[in-house]
Every structure is written in structure tokens, then in C-alpha cells.
């Protein structure tokens, strides 16, 4: 499923116009993005939480050429899956 499929599925499910559905899906992910960009976490119960991890700068090495490189400090987004979703994708089957 991609963004466009999600917009269509929401349109059907919530009885929206294609334009409104698109605007809402964009708002949804833009709000999460803006929150993470401001350094804040996002917690959606039953789905999961998004956090930003901070990394210090370090001197690395290109494993192919052995050339040293300076890796600057960076931040990376992380997602931790929530309990309900975790259980939904991994139903324990009776054997």
C-alpha cells in the first residue's frame, strides 16, 4: 500500500471527497513530521511511538577504501511498534 492507496481507502471508509481525503492524510503525516522535527515524541496508543535518536559525531572509515571520514552529529527518527499492532501482525497460531 502506498500514500495514494491510503488516500483512496480513507475516502471510501470515511465517505470523503478525494481532495479532502488527500488533505487529511497529508496533514496527518505532516503533523507527525513537524513534531519530530521540533524534537518532540509522538505516541499513538495501539499503533506505536515515534522518537528521534541523537548521534554524536565520530570518525569513521570507508570500509572499501580505508579512507577516514568525519561523520557529523545527526538525528534519526525511530518507530517502536505498539502492543496492539505487534500482536495483530504476529498472531500466534494454534498448532
Amino acid at each position: 500500500m502506498n500514500r495514494s492507496d491510503l488516500i483512496n481507502a480513507l475516502k471510501e471508509k470515511a465517505n470523503l471527497s478525494r481532495k479532502d481525503s488527500e488533505k487529511i492524510v497529508d496533514t496527518f503525516f505532516q503533523t507527525i513530521t513537524d513534531t519530530l522535527a521540533s524534537g518532540e515524541r509522538v505516541e499513538i496508543r495501539g499503533f506505536g511511538s515515534f522518537t528521534v535518536k541523537k548521534y554524536k559525531p565520530y570518525t569513521g572509515r570507508n570500509p572499501k577504501t580505508g579512507v577516514q571520514i568525519r561523520v557529523p552529529a545527526k538525528k534519526l527518527p525511530f518507530f517502536k511498534v505498539g502492543k496492539e499492532l505487534k500482536e495483530m501482525v504476529d498472531l500466534e497460531e494454534d498448532e
Partner: protein, 94 residues
Amino acid sequence: MALTKADLVEAVMQTSGLTKAQCVDIVDSILSIVKDRLAAGEDVLISGFGKFQIQDKDARRGRNPATGSDLMLRPRKVVTFKYSGKLKKMVNGG
């Protein structure tokens, strides 16, 4: 303070002009659509944001950390998230 579902409902209200009850339904719908697809084993790719993927984990030998006894962990499916280049750029100040 973390952003929660209530804040997402608020954001959807602002852009859509719909009622709060409608926006609660809409936010729940978005989440349940994504969850159902993942539960069906499908990846969900949101361009500009990231990709939720299902990964198959093999069975492996584990250990109960409390008792130290060996046990076999069954094969399982897990959700992983790979951020998009744009999201990475945004959290690093655009």
C-alpha cells in the same frame, strides 16, 4: 509532552473544518487501514515519510533471562519502520 492521537484529531479538524467526532473517526480510520494492511502482511509506503515493513524472523534459540533456561523462540513477524530521506532531513533541521 508527546504528541498524541488527540493532537492529530485537532490538526485534522483545523485543515478539514469537520466536527471533532468526524475527525476522531477519520484518525481512527487512518490508523486501522494501516494496521489492517500490515496485519495482512503488506508493506505500507508513505512517500516523504517512511515505509512500514513486515519482516519475518526465523525461529531461534533463546534464553529466559530470569531462570537462565534455554527455550526455542518460534518464527515470528515484526513491524519495522524505515524513515524516508525527507523525514531524516526534517528532523535534522530541514
